[in-house]
Symmetry: C2
Subunit: 568 residues, 2 copies
Amino acid sequence: MAKKVLIIGAVALGPKVACRLRRLDPQLEITLIDRDDIISYGGCGIPYYVGGDINDIEDLCKTTSHALRDEAFFENCKGIRVLTRVEAKEINRRQKQVKVCNLETGEETLLPYDKLVLATGASAFRPPFPGSGLPRVFTVSDLHEAKNLKTLMSTGKVSRAVVVGAGAIGLEITEALTDLWGIATTLVEMEDQVLPTLLGKCIARVAAGELQKHGVELLLEARVLEVSENPETGKLTVKTSKKSLEVDIVVLAAGVRPNTALAREAGLALGTSGGISVDQRMRTSDPNIYAGGDCVEVRNLISGENMLMALGSLANRQGRIIATNISGGQSHFKGTVGTFCLKLFELGVSKAGLTYRQAKETGFDPVYGVVSQADHAHFYPSSELIYISLLADRKSRKILGIEAAGKNGDAVKARVDTIAVLLDHGLHVDEVCSLEIGYAPPFASAMDVINNAGNALDNILAGNNRPIDAADFLYEFVHKTTRIIDVRGEKEAAPFKAKYGARWVNIPQDQLRRRYSEIPGNEPFFLICDTGPRSYEAQVFLSSRGITNTRNIQGGFAMIKVTDPTFI
Amino acid sequence: MAKKVLIIGAVALGPKVACRLRRLDPQLEITLIDRDDIISYGGCGIPYYVGGDINDIEDLCKTTSHALRDEAFFENCKGIRVLTRVEAKEINRRQKQVKVCNLETGEETLLPYDKLVLATGASAFRPPFPGSGLPRVFTVSDLHEAKNLKTLMSTGKVSRAVVVGAGAIGLEITEALTDLWGIATTLVEMEDQVLPTLLGKCIARVAAGELQKHGVELLLEARVLEVSENPETGKLTVKTSKKSLEVDIVVLAAGVRPNTALAREAGLALGTSGGISVDQRMRTSDPNIYAGGDCVEVRNLISGENMLMALGSLANRQGRIIATNISGGQSHFKGTVGTFCLKLFELGVSKAGLTYRQAKETGFDPVYGVVSQADHAHFYPSSELIYISLLADRKSRKILGIEAAGKNGDAVKARVDTIAVLLDHGLHVDEVCSLEIGYAPPFASAMDVINNAGNALDNILAGNNRPIDAADFLYEFVHKTTRIIDVRGEKEAAPFKAKYGARWVNIPQDQLRRRYSEIPGNEPFFLICDTGPRSYEAQVFLSSRGITNTRNIQGGFAMIKVTDPTFI
């Protein structure tokens, strides 16, 4: 008799396991069940469907050749049986069968398996404040809710919104509401920055600047206390710890929780993060049951800790691995370095590895360098600035993480990806300095921004570059009296001299070697130029002349401008 | 007394060494000499200057903050002495001094050194055919010739041109002549493909298709025998082994040769490739003499052989390493994996590692997989196709090289760069399948094209995918009678059925499971779909039904279209 594989969940990982398994083994009986009637869709596309980049919800459910991935598609093209609107209620591991319920008829049956795959995914977290269950309080991890939300907006009845949570989904949905629909949106976040688990403060400030540039109101360190509905107007009043807002809709993007009830009740091991625990072959504590995707926890290869990471790309890669293993092969999923990217209006944001804060908590002694530089040769017409923050451990000089932002998202992601794929190979700062990426003026600099991120960090670790980042500078410049030496040309410096008077000293780079004696050697100074290299060189020169109490503003004016667009 | 560092050559590596050295050691006496009067310029930008993307030749000589990098700049901003129009004639290693000649006055002097750096670069090779020295036969590795060429074209006197050599510079200059100036250009290449040392035949065909799409005439396996000038009209007659052409200019892009005379005459070791031999610290056989950039040979980290690789990015990285070492630090240049990229009209082309041919010659047993897939999520509006050829050694499953092309050059380069940086870490096929690059629909697929390149190669190595590449298919389809099974929809297949009759069998994917018995099991067939996944799945299914004499066309129609735009 043919071996039976039963897969619970038919969105991302489930169909991937089923299809590859069919290709590897034509004899298996493969059954895929899902409680929903829409299956095998690109859930990560929901914000783009809401925002109008994708018109039709069916486009998220189609193959590259425009075939709708429904039950008939899986039956006819793949030889895979799919049961929709069928919910798994209970796993009997001894009998190797799953009790399922047909949600249309209420009928319960038993499905036997030789191998079982849990692809139960994750559900949007609905924070327990009063009113979080009101009809106009949406979540967007569900295609049905997304459809309702879009329908409501398309009637023109939504002019103000609150988005709760400035994580990836929160930012994507904020852009969707603002950009196409012109909805005045307030983004509420508990932490003191956007993307708090994904970015350190430097690049997070760049992302925040982009939101503000597009008219998004950002409420940081704020909590939603209550949402109430005016029964006459239908409007919602959102009471936060900072202010009250009257809006038409609220979108919750407060994270997701892995769907583990079925696994837990079957006595399968769950990890400390709350996800299903799996080994490198993606097997649960029962070797006949595999699990993957948003419902499992994965190992962070930099910190060594297990964590949740709900991402369609991981689900797909894990799905292939599960299929290989079920069919008798040997394939391993080692873990993740947390590579991530995001489009935010005109900005591409990308990161891999740990943030400064996470590195500290893990026990490293983290040091970071920040650079601003064109993505292409500076003399080539199409170039755009990229802002990179590169993090290493002081003693071992091992790279712990990278974050970047810039207008050309593909170019930003390219730099981060080259570091990402090396992170679990014990990448050293020195290797970044010489990293051999492709070079031609339309696509890179001879000394590319990624090499210079390594160079800057190398110079910082060597003590030659004593930096301050743009955010800290902006704070200190307002709250203290430290003066600044601007080594740009007189014309560039003039408006700042006019505004800040004696606090703003201008000595152009080509005059510094003869004029440095004007600088009081015992006074602290900031040093600034356009993007950082000249102020660094000035710092090195001044040090050689005994003027050592300087801090070089990393990434220069370019970084300040995107950190605080209001600074002149 | 301050230590003296003398640097011969002031284009790319020389200035890099000088500037970093000054930052690392304020006491050194640093002298930079060059026989030219234009220094510290972006030589890689010359084709873009010729093609008009860059208007002014001075833009290639300016810093990111628009300062001209001339003698005064180096003196005032960097504290570095630069002598231009000064040629090094002889190195006296015992006395540690260099005899130099002032090219303006003819005066000869001796410059002493403690450490000497050879940054003598490379010169364009002028093939020795009769007429190669005529005034209208240009090379473009020299800023002065580039200027003359551009001046001539801007007078409107050039309507036809021959470019000799389809390497990187040849292709870049062909685009420059064709795109801005509308010059009818014939590209002459000795080998049977463009970019013969850089690409295998698959991606080379894509590049050739792009040239033809833009009206460039391509003469492969052709040699220039003679160029002669009509003294009355000024026109040139170019006699090649294939045909004769009457043109206004000839541009030689037949490669460069390292400038090693000075080193050789001083008794320094040269390598088998003809470049100056250096160790990992970039020291020549004389530990007081360093060398780097286009005049040295570097180690290919995949083949283990030494080779020449004239590239501004290597020069810059090596320059930093030399400076670190001269100042007492420890920095190493291990070698290169030959990462390379190029813009060709609307196409980005990129590669790293060995080509199929080079891998064979090195003694590997190379196998490659080809995929066509969108760079971004297929449901996201901005996506463009990327074509990837991934090469591995059959037994060790180690990746040997990658080549790619596509419209979004940044996205193409991104994929190649992630493989490039892992090549000397012993990257296995399996690691490519799970390579963790950033995922969001605007920038990647959940199972990204780079992962799928790994998957395809994995399936080929496992024997599940029995492929034929587009170029071989096109040849066989014309020269043999093998039939094809097209598993796309009826509408897509209709024009091909009309054209090829019984040779073109159409069984759409969703009918194959019930109609496979129509296929004679002993007859050979090609299998095709849009981009490859459906024809692969069909092959696997047919194999399970005993129909095993099939070959799956890698990259599908998408690959055929860019390989031969005339195939329907």
